[in-house]
C-alpha cells in the first residue's frame, strides 16, 4: 500500500490474499479517513507500512483458535476445568496473550445456555475469535437480545426448550466471554480436529449451537 491515496481507482497491487471491496470513497467520513491518515503519515505519527501490517494481522485472525480451545475442553475434563477457572492463563497455551482484559469461559449445557452481547458498544473476545460479525455490532442485536433472547435466537434458527435457562451475558466491563457450546450427541468417537469443525463462531457467541456431526438424525 502506498502512502498516499490515488484518486483514480488506485488499486492495491500488493501480495495480499484477500480481495477487499474496491470501492471508491464517496462519503464524507471516508474522505476524513484519507485526510487523517495522510496527515498522520506526513507527520511521522504512523507509517503506511504499519497500517498495512496491522490490517494483515487482523485479516489472519479467525475463530479457528477458539474452536481448537473448545474442542480440547470437550475431550479433556481437566483442561476444561482449568479453562473455566482461569481462561487467560489457559489460552496462553494456544499462543494467545491477553494482558489487561479478563477472559472468561462460559459452559453451555442442556440446562443453561449463555448468549453474549455488548449492549453498550461491541466488546468481543477478539484475541480468541478475531473480528466480530456485523450483526454482533448492530443496534438491532445490542438492543434486542438482552430483552428478546428467544425471538432473536429464532432469527438464527436456534430454538431452545422452555426448560433451558437462557442467560444473556452483557459484557459491560473488562471481561470478554467465550461460550463453550454443548457438545452434540453422537460425537463421542471424534478426534479433536474433527470436533473443532463443528464449533462455529456463532456457537462460541451463543446465538447458535455447535453443528451436529454429518449423518446424525435428531
Amino acid at each position: 500500500m502506498t502512502g498516499s491515496n490515488e484518486p483514480h481507482g488506485g488499486h492495491d497491487h500488493s501480495h495480499n490474499d484477500f480481495q477487499p471491496d474496491i470501492k471508491e470513497p464517496t462519503e464524507n467520513w471516508e474522505f476524513l479517513e484519507i485526510a487523517l491518515r495522510e496527515l498522520l503519515v506526513d507527520k511521522g505519527v504512523l507509517s503506511a507500512r504499519e497500517i498495512q501490517d496491522e490490517i494483515e494481522t487482523w485479516e489472519k485472525k479467525s475463530p479457528e483458535k477458539g474452536a481448537e480451545i473448545v474442542a480440547k475442553a470437550w475431550v479433556d475434563e481437566k483442561f476444561k476445568a482449568r479453562l473455566l477457572e482461569d481462561a487467560n492463563q489457559t489460552i496462553r497455551e494456544f499462543g494467545i496473550e491477553v494482558e489487561v482484559l479478563k477472559m472468561v469461559a462460559l459452559e453451555n449445557t442442556p440446562e443453561l445456555h449463555h448468549v453474549v452481547v455488548c449492549t453498550l458498544c461491541s466488546c468481543y473476545p477478539r484475541p480468541i475469535l478475531g473480528v466480530p460479525p456485523l450483526w454482533y455490532k448492530s443496534k438491532q442485536y445490542r438492543s434486542r437480545v438482552i430483552r428478546e433472547p428467544r425471538a432473536v435466537l429464532q432469527e438464527f434458527g436456534t430454538t431452545l426448550s422452555d426448560d433451558t435457562e437462557i442467560r444473556v451475558v452483557d459484557s459491560t466491563a473488562d471481561c470478554r466471554y467465550l461460550v463453550i457450546p454443548t457438545r452434540p450427541v453422537g460425537t463421542e468417537k471424534m478426534t479433536e480436529t474433527e470436533l473443532a469443525k463443528l464449533i462455529t463462531r456463532d456457537s462460541m457467541i451463543g446465538t447458535a449451537q455447535a453443528r451436529d456431526p454429518i449423518g446424525k438424525r435428531s
Partner: protein
C-alpha cells in the same frame, strides 16, 4: 466498604442517572440482582474515559438478574431466563 459484597450477595443497582461515561446500563438502574462472580479490581472506566488513571481500582462483579422481573414480563423470554452484567462496586447497594 469494599468487603460488604461477595458472591451470593443480593444487591440493588443504584437508581442514579449521572452524566459522563457510565458502564452501568440504563435498563438496570434500580434493579435487583445477585452477585455470582467477583472478577477482582479494575480501574474506574468513568475516569479512564477522560484521560485520568482510574485509580483506585474498583471491585468488579458479575451480577445476575431475572428477566421476568427486570423487564416486568415485557419481552421474549421464558420464566427461567436470566441476564448478567458486569458492575463496579460503586453502583451496588446491599439489600
Amino acid at each position: 466498604m469494599s468487603d460488604q459484597f461477595k458472591v451470593g450477595s443480593k444487591v440493588r443497582i443504584t437508581n442514579a442517572y449521572p452524566p459522563g461515561h457510565i458502564r452501568t446500563p440504563f435498563f438496570l438502574r434500580g434493579k435487583e440482582g445477585l452477585i455470582i462472580r467477583h472478577f477482582g479490581k479494575y480501574p474506574n472506566p468513568e475516569r479512564l474515559a477522560y484521560g485520568l488513571n482510574g485509580l483506585p481500582k474498583l471491585n468488579l462483579y458479575q451480577v445476575l438478574f431475572d428477566m421476568e422481573t427486570t423487564w416486568q414480563g415485557d419481552g421474549s423470554f421464558s420464566s427461567k431466563d436470566t441476564l448478567t452484567a458486569d458492575i463496579y462496586e460503586t453502583w451496588l447497594e446491599l439489600i
